[in-house]
């Protein structure tokens, strides 16, 4: 049974069956059969990352549910609980409430951009991305592309729920699309803030908590639910200057067909300012991570 050899016992011969393991000959063929293409250009690298974001939505559609279920509950609860008290009828209140809830649900979704980025960093895959000869900001821009799709979907869910409950926007389909577009642009600006947070904080749940800690007061202390005039003076002053209130006012205006250009400009300016500050910061942090 036992054998004595003068060298160290050899390991079992590497046996690999073609069906369950790697086939050595095929591996060799695969290695030799590819010529190195020119490096991917910045746009196609970013688009490839965008595709990755889309695939994640496709594989885990429930994640959309996570962020839309609360706003959907809010629409239903607030409409029927407070509609009569606040606006005299549930239908009137829904017209007032829905654009605000749209803003809220899309902004909740932006937190997940930071969470997803943080989750990525805890995995080895980011190391591989960073060792590729690609344009450095491509992974971030690409995931933003995927995230924008997520924002549009989250917004669409809310609008559809509203329509079912009897929401009838005065400016029709065009107005609703314009409002959704404005909200998504603002959300892209916000998502850079959470991306920065995602790179600074230690765990995905820390990003989630910090995100909601910021977003909750900002959305509740706005004109999403009630007219600011009904609030105490100090609070009213805050609510009036809260960019989220201005975004909600602009969305309502777009949906009803009486938007103020000034509101829209402020929203776009805030989104641009957030991007200008946080996008370079995020890129720098990502590179150094």
């Amino acid at each position: 049974m036992s054998t004595i050899t003068t060298t160290q016992a050899p390991p079992p011969a590497p046996q690999a069956s073609p069906t369950t393991g790697a086939d050595e000959v095929a591996v060799r063929t695969a290695i030799s059969s590819i010529a190195r293409p020119p490096n991917a250009n910045p746009l196609s690298a970013a688009l490839a990352f965008g595709w990755r974001g889309m695939l994640k939505i496709k594989h885990v559609p429930e994640q959309l549910l996570d962020v839309t279920i609360t706003p959907v509950l809010f629409v239903v609860m607030f409409t029927y609980l407070f509609g009569g008290a606040i606006s005299g009828s549930t239908g009137d209140y829904l017209d007032y409430l829905l654009p605000g809830i749209l803003v809220m649900s899309v902004l909740f979704t932006t937190i997940y951009s930071g969470v997803a980025l943080n989750t990525d960093l805890t995995k080895g895959v980011v190391d591989r991305f960073r060792s590729l000869p690609i344009w450095r900001p491509a992974p971030l821009l690409g995931s933003l592309l995927g995230d924008s799709v997520r924002y549009v979907l989250a917004g669409t869910v809310i609008i559809v729920v509203g329509l079912i409950l009897g929401f009838r926007p005065g400016a029709g389909v065009i107005g609703v699309i314009a409002a959704l577009g404005l909200v998504v642009i603002f959300a892209v600006g916000m998502s850079w803030v959470f991306a920065t947070l995602g790179l600074l904080l230690r765990s995905p749940s820390a990003v989630l908590n910090a995100g909601f800690l910021g977003i909750f007061p900002l959305t509740f202390l706005s004109n999403v639910f009630v007219e600011p005039e009904t609030l105490p003076a100090g609070l009213e002053a805050f609510v009036e200057v809260n960019p989220i209130s201005i975004l909600v006012t602009a969305s309502r205006g777009l949906m009803e067909g009486n938007a103020q250009a000034g509101d829209i400009l402020i929203v776009l300016a805030v989104a641009a300012a957030l991007t200008a500050v946080f996008a370079p910061l995020t890129t720098r942090l990502y590179r150094k991570h």
């Binding site: 054998t3 016992a9 590497p14 050595e24 994640k56 190391d127």
Partner: protein, 330 residues
């Protein structure tokens, strides 16, 4: 000068600190094109940090490195164009399918979409992953994940491949598959820098080995040179039943001393054995009802090399340190 084949890696005095810890403390490496170079050391020795510097993921605090002549700091993007990295954590996206991972990398490396799809199909076939191609990677076994990881590294064949502990946590069968893939890569001319804490793995695959401990290279040479520098031979025993390994270790410890447990859960070695004493020890094992699959008397294993070089055992700092290995030979 120009007739000399260029070196795949040429690193001098690499240093990297994290806070007060000098993770890498002056590492020099010279790796010839087309070879497998093993970097051997326990957890926390600085292997991964060295790889991360050479793969341009982090910049060195001091020292310099060239990969196929390109400076790792000044010319990082050129380095990225010719290397690929298989990290210690699987460097694939767990939330995508195997096929999607390969297509994504193909596109990021500059393949057109149809080319990327075709390449993914070819690799899935070669790596035995066709059936699992449509499943999310998070549902893959460790061995499948590793194979996908390596496939992802050769979507476009790199000139230099970093393999960071490619078989850690794999069962022996999957480990053998990974080894055969590595051999195929080498046969096709890819240079490989292999980090491992398995001494057997470096011995099996590497042409040259640098032994690294606490951020420094403490020995360098061919596996045979390293073994020769240590001296006396060893008895290697493989058991039929891994459960009996501790019993066997007690017997060999009594008969020969300096027992080490090998990576293979059924194998163990004892240093300082000449033929007579080894025969006696094997007879004693049989008398103690330890069932032996095979045994051999050979050169010292790299475990023993490590012990002789550092005065402590290779995996004394690793999480699976075993009490029996507290035995010191030197």
């Amino acid at each position: 000068m120009t007739l000399q084949p260029p070196l795949a890696i040429e690193a001098t005095g690499l240093v990297k600190s994290f806070g007060k810890t000098r993770a890498v403390d002056g590492v020099d490496l010279t790796v010839r094109r087309g070879s497998v170079y093993g970097v051997l050391g326990p957890n926390g020795a600085g292997k991964t940090t060295t790889i991360r510097m050479l793969a341009t993921l982090i910049g060195p605090d001091a020292g310099s490195g060239r990969v196929f002549g390109h400076d790792i700091v000044e010319d990082a993007n050129a380095v990225r164009g010719i290397v690929s990295l298989t990290g210690q954590l699987a460097s694939v996206d767990e939330e995508l399918t195997g096929r999607e991972n390969l297509i994504l990398l193909g596109r990021l490396l500059g393949l057109k979409r149809p080319e990327a799809k075709e390449r993914a199909g070819e690799l899935l076939e070669a790596f035995g992953l066709v059936e699992a191609a449509g499943r999310l990677v998070k549902h893959y076994s460790g061995g499948m994940r590793r194979r996908l990881d390596i496939a992802a590294s050769i979507v476009v064949t790199p000139q230099l491949m970093f393999l960071d502990e490619p078989t850690t946590g794999l069962d022996p069968r999957s480990r053998n598959q990974v080894w055969s893939i590595v051999r195929a890569l080498v046969a096709e001319g890819t240079t490989i820098l292999l980090c491992t804490q398995y001494l057997e793995e470096a011995d099996q695959l590497a042409d040259r080995i640098a032994v690294i401990d606490r951020g420094k290279v403490i020995a360098e040479g061919t596996p045979a040179e390293l073994k020769a520098s240590v001296g006396s031979g060893s008895l290697h025993v493989r058991l039929l039943d891994p459960e009996q390994r501790l019993d066997a270790a007690r017997v060999l410890d009594r008969e020969l001393g300096a027992v080490t447990l090998d990576a293979d859960p059924a194998a163990l070695s004892a240093a300082g054995a000449d033929a007579d004493r080894a025969a006696e020890a094997v007879a004693e094992l049989t008398r103690s009802d330890v069932r032996i699959a095979d045994f051999s008397l050979g050169q010292p294993s790299l475990d023993e090399v490590f012990l002789a070089l550092t005065g402590h055992l290779a995996d004394a700092s690793a999480e699976h340190a075993d009490p029996i290995e507290v035995e010191q030979a030197a």
